[in-house]
Amino acid sequence: MTIVIGFEGSANKIGIGIIRDGEVLSNPRRTYITPPGQGFLPSDTARHHRAVILTVLKEALEQAGLKPADIDCVAFTKGPGMGSPLVTVALVARTVAQLWGKPLLGVNHCIGHIEMGRLITQADNPTVLYVSGGNTQVIAYSERRYRIFGETIDIAVGNCLDRFARVIKISNDPSPGYNIEQMAKKGSQYVELPYTVKGMDVSFSGITSYIEEAAHKMISSGQCSAEDLCFSLQETVFSMLVEITERAMAHCGSGEVLIVGGVGCNLRLQEMMGVMCKERNAKLFATDERFCIDNGAMIAQAGWEMFRSGQVTELEDSWITQRYRTDEVEVTWRD
């Protein structure tokens, strides 16, 4: 029996989760929510995380019904993400590991998403679409690496959605993406927007500048409603994502798709991906907001796999990094 606690705080969520051999014992989380029109800045986000992290830690232990002595390993997010929130959370992880006398493990955030998705859905060897505020990647496993077949060449899809939400002042509570999804259900008119796919790569900077520039004019002139824009933006960017996923599947000969990351809990994206999968007799795996959105259990789960395969991170190596590519990690726990 191996019990791992995971600390995640690379963006505006702070989460701590505990995993015991594939079972999620607890997974509490808090989100730093900014007013409409505003994004989250690193220093304010770090301050938010500092203020709540010990409360969340207590919750995680209590809900799991465990004492620190029961824990085998302390995992934390090494990167990628925002510098100061990462530092804040790593500091707490290092401190408790020393207090409790437990080994540490620095985990790649993206690998956390993938391993959590695999655990929850039981997908065996899927093509992974990883979509969040900071990342957009199409990934497949081979020869001990999660290899990146496609990715954004500029900004992430979540960043595109967030920036649009800021321009037309959509609420950030619980998240801009969630509110865009709800508004999109009331949209009906399809407005043509720039569509940029390059092989298995995508670009979102063109569509983002276009819609930032045009949104107010289109709405105030009565050409379309804010809901229509939400609808059209989703239809366009999600089509791009489904297209590059399908291209990677055809190229790799894969029959499974797993969607992970914060944007992955969008039901319209899941629905579109499901239709694509049906058209090629493939299987779709997705999870809900508990596990798609950044959380502590995903770091615990990747940490569990790493720890079981013999990895630990020495104290002097327990630094964080804002850039950390998915394919830098040697996957020691899969054949």
Binding site: G134, R147, V197, K198, G199, E243, Q322, Y324
Partner: protein, 235 residues
């Protein structure tokens, strides 16, 4: 009516053809057309996307594919001959490259030990063909080893390399566009075929030697790579 009859003709033709595979965006059939071995590439309607977006993309890609294949052929680059195009069902009838396999399968089936040295002539050939294509200002848009076919020659072992799948292609003389085209290939190549960095370098070297305008393109390629590495991953 004649129109209805012709509209139904292609689906009926395809219903009798052999479905070879479902590619990245099309169904690929094997058939005989006017007595010749033919590949029919049907960009069927993608139900997941909005009908207006689907129609626009499908039409544009069918047109682009035909256009670039013709342009390459005129320049003497090996591509399949286009026999017939039907824009209502978005189907392209192409010469079948009989007895060919994709470069992807070819590399994957060669033993890991031979993955570098044994494949060097192939890598050089790919570099040369891409240089010619870029010198014609054709940007492929989806360069992967799945979109290159290798037909092994009779006995002497000389094989011919074909480029296919020009749906995302366009015409541009900009070094930036050519650099991105190579970057797309580089990433697809290295993630599909682990431990082939040296092989890919050979490919680039032969590209550089064969293309008239390669120095600006290679410079852009390096810039695009760096941009990728510097990209923020916040959120």
């Amino acid at each position: 009516m004649a129109l209805e009859k012709s509209m139904a003709a292609i689906p009926e033709f395809l219903s009798k053809a052999e479905l070879l595979k479902q590619g990245a965006e099309a169904r690929v059939y094997r058939a005989r057309f006017l007595g010749r071995p033919t590949i029919v590439k049907e960009r069927f309607r993608k139900q997941y996307r909005h009908p207006l977006l689907d129609e626009k993309l499908t039409h544009r890609r069918t047109v682009q594919e035909v256009r670039s294949v013709l342009r390459c052929r005129r320049a003497g680059i090996s591509v399949p001959v286009v026999y017939f195009v039907d824009y209502s069902s978005h189907s392209i009838f192409l010469e079948e490259i009989v007895g060919s396999s994709t470069v992807r399968d070819h590399i994957a089936s060669s033993p890991p030990s031979a993955r570098c040295e044994g494949l060097e002539p192939l890598a050089e050939r790919v570099g040369q063909v891409l240089a010619r294509m870029h010198d014609e200002d054709v940007i492929h848009g989806d360069l992967t080893t799945s979109n290159m076919l290798l037909r092994c020659g009779p006995e002497d072992g000389v094989s011919e390399l074909f480029l296919i799948d020009f749906g995302l292609s366009y015409i541009s003389a900009l070094p930036e566009d050519k650099g991105v085209d190579l970057h797309v290939l580089e990433k697809a190549f290295l993630s599909t075929h682990p431990h082939t960095e040296a092989l890919f370098q050979r490919l680039l070297k032969s590209y550089a030697a064969a293309s008239k305008k390669s120095s600006a393109v290679i410079k852009k390629l390096e810039e695009v790579r760096l941009r990728g590495r510097k990209r923020s991953m916040v959120g």
